[in-house]
Each structure stands twice: as structure tokens, then as C-alpha cells.
Amino acid sequence: MSSYIFTHLDELESESIFVLRETFAQFENPCLLFSGGKDSILVAHLAKKAFYPSKIPFTFLHIDTGHNFIETIDFRDKLVNELAVNLLVGSVQQSIDEGKVIEEKGQNASRNRAQSVTLLESIEKNKFDAAIGGARRDEEKARAKERFFSHRDDFGQWNPKNQRPELWNIFNGKKQLGEHFRIFPISNWTEMDVWNYILREKIELPSLYFSHEREVVIREDMILANSEFIKPLTNDVVKNEIVRFRTIGDLTITGAVRSTAITLQEIINEVSMARETERGNRADDQRSEASMEERKKEGYF
């Protein structure tokens, strides 16, 4: 290390570790929102580095919509076991059963919005004062304005018009009783950065990210994994395809792409040539131009 050159991945890694350590130092009871997707896996990996040789000092919180890919759940359980961290699961099904949310009806119904209710409830019940998430500013327009430390009022709501200014790397996590913060340590990473770093660090991912054959439902421009949660429509085509997933959310909303990429390097080649942003095939963002912003104001992550 004689030249003191720091690559962009080194700098992003260092910044994220700094943010994770600030979170530990400034809050009493932080949790790490773990979805089983690559971004939350990355955050877990960075947290392991930030506190080595201690264990990760955050409870992992998974908001389970009940519409998960089985591969995601298996992967989650394995990782939690390896890291020896505590896992809490907030169940959207339970929130629905208790009448706290009303399930969406209709052809493209999903439990995406319902998640926010369960998330806020889990935060309140467990007295978490900070929830660390793997959101990135490059994902979506409303996220481009998020802070690293994002203040939520006692209803869990985000007010984009009245955010605390965030300067240099001084993070203000002071809050009133009942309020909490959302923390986004990988704010400055792009999809390409995440993939390049996963390759560099040889981070293990769920098999869904790699090409495989499965039964899918083709609906207009979307390719959805076929499952009991998809209501068939008249124009749907059901068949087997070689696909992979660029993001991992619910079975009902995560679109697959046709792909033969079976290694990380092949995925990176594919991503760098991709013609659509990764959220482009998330049905939840396409409802209207402002849909992410609306959900975030309500407490979505």
C-alpha cells in the first residue's frame, strides 16, 4: 500500500462501516432490516466487518409478507445461523388476521403496502429506535433525497420537506421518545457497485439471482414466478423459462428476466449492458410516477 490510492469500492465500504458504527454508538436498540435480497446481505456483510471481532450488535428484523420465495427464507436462516445474530420475524399475515391492515384485492394485488404497517408495529413493539436498511439513492427518484440518518416522527412517517440537513459526516440521531430513525448505510452505492463488491468479496447470494429454469407466468411485459399467490388472468401465459431475478421481493411483484447468467461475472456483464434499471421490473413502482414517494411518507422502507 505505497501509493495511497483508494478505489471507489474501498471508499464506499469505508463510508458504510462508518455509518454502521455511528448507528451502534448513537442508538440504544437498533435493528437491521433483513429481506434476503442482495442489498440487505451486503449490509450484513459490512456490519460483520464494522464490529469484527465482535458479533454484529443488531437484531435482524425480517418483515415476512407470507409471499416469499422459499429460497429466500432458507438463505436467511442459514446466514442468521452463521452470524449468530438474533432474528425477529414480523408477520404481515398476522397484521391482516388482526384486522390492522386490509388486504388489497384485484388482479395485481400485493402485500407491498401492508408491509409498512407490520414494520412500524414491529419497531414499536420491540422498542427499536433505529432500523437499518439497504436502500440506495440510485434506485428511485424519491430515494435520491434520503439522508443516511432519516428521521421518522412518532407515527413512523417521513417528511421529505422537513428533513434535517446532513453535513460532512456528522450524523444527528437525536430524537424524542417514540420517534425513530431509518439508517441507510449503502445510500451512495449503485447497483453496479453492489455487484462489483459482491464479486470482489465473494459474498454468497440466494440461488434466485442466478439463472435457473422455473415455471413462470407471462403477463404483458412482466415475467412472474408461478405460485399459489398469483391469480391467473385470461391473457396470462404459463410456461417454463430460463430466468433469474435482479431484485428479490415478493412472489407477487418481483419480475424475472430471461437470462443465462450463472456466475457473478456473467451477472455483472449482463447488468452493465442492461437497458432497464433494476426497479424497472418491480410492479410496485410502476403504479404512478410518484408511487415510491407516497409509500415512503406512510412509513415504507
Binding site: T7, E11, P165, E166, E276
Partner: protein, 419 residues
Amino acid sequence: MTRGNKIELLRFTTAGSVDDGKSTLIGRLLYDSKSIFEDQLKAIEKTSERRGLKSIDLSLLTDGLKDEREQGITIDVAYRYFSTPKRKFIIADSPGHIQYTRNMVTGASTANAALILVDARKGVVEQTKRHSYLASLLQIQHVIVCVNKMDLVEFNEDIYEEIIQSYRDFASKLDIKDFDFIPISALLGDNVVDKSKNMGWYNGPTLLYSLENIPVSNDFNKLDFRFPVQTVIRPKSADFHDFRGYAGRISSGIVRKNDEVVALPSGLTSKVIAIHGPNGLVDEAFAPMSVSIELEDDLDISRGNLISKVNNTPNISQELDAMICWMDSKPLNLTAKYFIRHTTHEAKCLIKEVVYVMDLNELKRVEGLNNLKMNEIGRVKIKTTQPIIYDSYRKNKTTGSFILVEEGSFNTVASGMII
């Protein structure tokens, strides 16, 4: 395109008046460097069409929140990303109008470079001066002045020369190390990514070329080792029973194994016996790495303390002189106590005196006001309840900067740079 492992990061901020075409310029950079995806392009094509525009409005790419889309102006700092084979760029896009000085200061606080837009038809105006002053106050190392809308002045060289001369005259009074000028048309793309065919008289680089070649790593101060401690890692496990790692991000300088170091404010000294980097043990570490450091002696060091070399220490004082930018709608209260958050340390403080307020239009000091309101910048004297371990902001942006937090609301109400 498997690149990605050897490229550097450049953070820059953009400033301009409301109609200087800043959003269009960023849109143009993203578009011409092929950083826009098809679905994003489709969305803005649709919107442009709906508004009855003949060509795509590239500014729609960066105007993020709903209210802005309605007003057609940017109202907060938005962060944008793009990369070329040479560099990854983070753009802090801050709005230009007068009431949002605080956003520009926020965007500028993390930037290595600033783009300042000047409308070729209007030349250097008050806002240009204000933005340049802020870039100098925040010690941005590199400023690129883009004379935009050259297409509206028939790509006239004399007009361009006049503008840069008047900018130079004014900027000689500022504290900016390095500035460049580029005549561009963000709307048509001249000299943004591709060289202009309309301005044969201009022999300089395009904007993207400049951004790709601004030196970044030279900006780090390698001489003065400063290490604010964030937290102490104590696993208390069987394998690491007595392990104590002081965790933090190196603000400046280099640390090596066996270095003699001092913990401040206690003044106790010890020796570095191990440095844990993100990928294991290293013999040396430098800014801006996040590491944890083990010392030979068991010293009482906690969050908010700072470790430096024995023969090169920062200042320690409970009296600070600083420039502050007031960022809250409630004006400064000289009788109230504020929290001062500086590196990883927090204390309380009183603003004893406002020495002067900057008139941001005339760039003159106004004395005798003894107050600061939202979006105003002034020089103050501060008294803190505990010693602050600092360097001047000019010397070190991390140990020289702070924020003030209001007691009741916990809002961040001011940002400060220690003189």
C-alpha cells in the same frame, strides 16, 4: 465492461440560479455518458410529450420529488450517480434560489469539486458570486465555471471571454485553489461530453474530461494523523478476551504499526500494536479508511476522544472562532444553549457573540447585528462546556467542522467551520 475495481470516486456539487439550466446539464451528462436506462428515458419522454414539448426535457431526470415536478424547480439536495470507465461520480444537486443557501452548503460539505453555472446572456450575477463564495467558504478544492446557453449568444467567443474576465476579477478575492472555465450548451450538448462543433475557438477540455481528470487523492492531508474514536470494540469472547479495538474512520494522515500515539483530551500516550482494516490486519492505514486500532496500554479511551501522533497534535480549547451558516427557520438565540456535535464528540455551547454577518449579495461584512437568521452566514464566538479537539477547517474538514443542534426539537440548526 468488467471494470469497476480500479476506479476512483469524485463527489461534486452543482450550483446555479433557477433558470441556469442546471438540471438540464446533469441530465445531459447522464444522457451523453449513457448512464440513463431505457425505462427512465421512457418515463421522461412520456412526461415531455404530455407537456407538449418538442424534444425530451432532460431536466426531468433530476427533479425528484412530487412537489418539484409540479413547481418545475428543485427544492432540496438530491444525489445522482454515474460512472465512466475512469471514475464514479456522485453529484450533490442543490437548488440555486436565494432561500436555500442551507441546501447548497449541505451539498457542498462533502464535495471535492463544484460546478458553477453562468448564463451566457446574463454573465456573472449576484447568485454566481454567492455560490462561489460558498464554494470558497466550504473549501471546495476545484471549481469549474460552466458558461451555459452559449447557443443563445451565437457561440460568441467575445461574450465568453468577457464573462470569464469578470469572473476572474471577482474570484481573485476568494480562497479557491483551482478553477477552470468551459463554454457549453447543456441543451444541445456542446462541450459537455462531446467537443463542440460550434466553438472551434475553444481548445480546452470538455466538462466530462475535466471531471475525469481532476486530481482526487492529492486532496487528502497525509501529514496530520487524526483519528476520532467512534466506539470501542470489546468482544469479551473466549478467543478475544482482552481485545480492545478503538474503532473509527481516519480523518487525515497515516498511521503505522509501532507509532507512538496520544489520546486526547487525556494526553496519555501509548504505542499502536495492531491495525484492523476491513480485510484484516494491516501495517499501515490512511485517510479515509475505517479501521480499528489496538494499543499497547489499557488506556481509558471512549467515543468522542481523538488519537493523534505524539509529535503532531490538534488544538484543544473551550473557546472557538467559527463561520456558521444558520439553517433553521427559528433564528439564533444568544441566550440558549445548543448541542455542538463535532467529529464523534458532543458537548453543549453558547454563542457568545456574532462578530459579523456576511452580506451574500455584496460579499461584505456587516457588523453590529448580533443575530443570524435562516440562510445567513456569520462569524461567531462560541464557548463550549467541554474542551473541543480541533484543527482549523482550512487544514482539516473533519476536525474543523461541526453542527449545532437545538435543545428541545433536536433539529440541526447550524453548520460551522472553525477558523
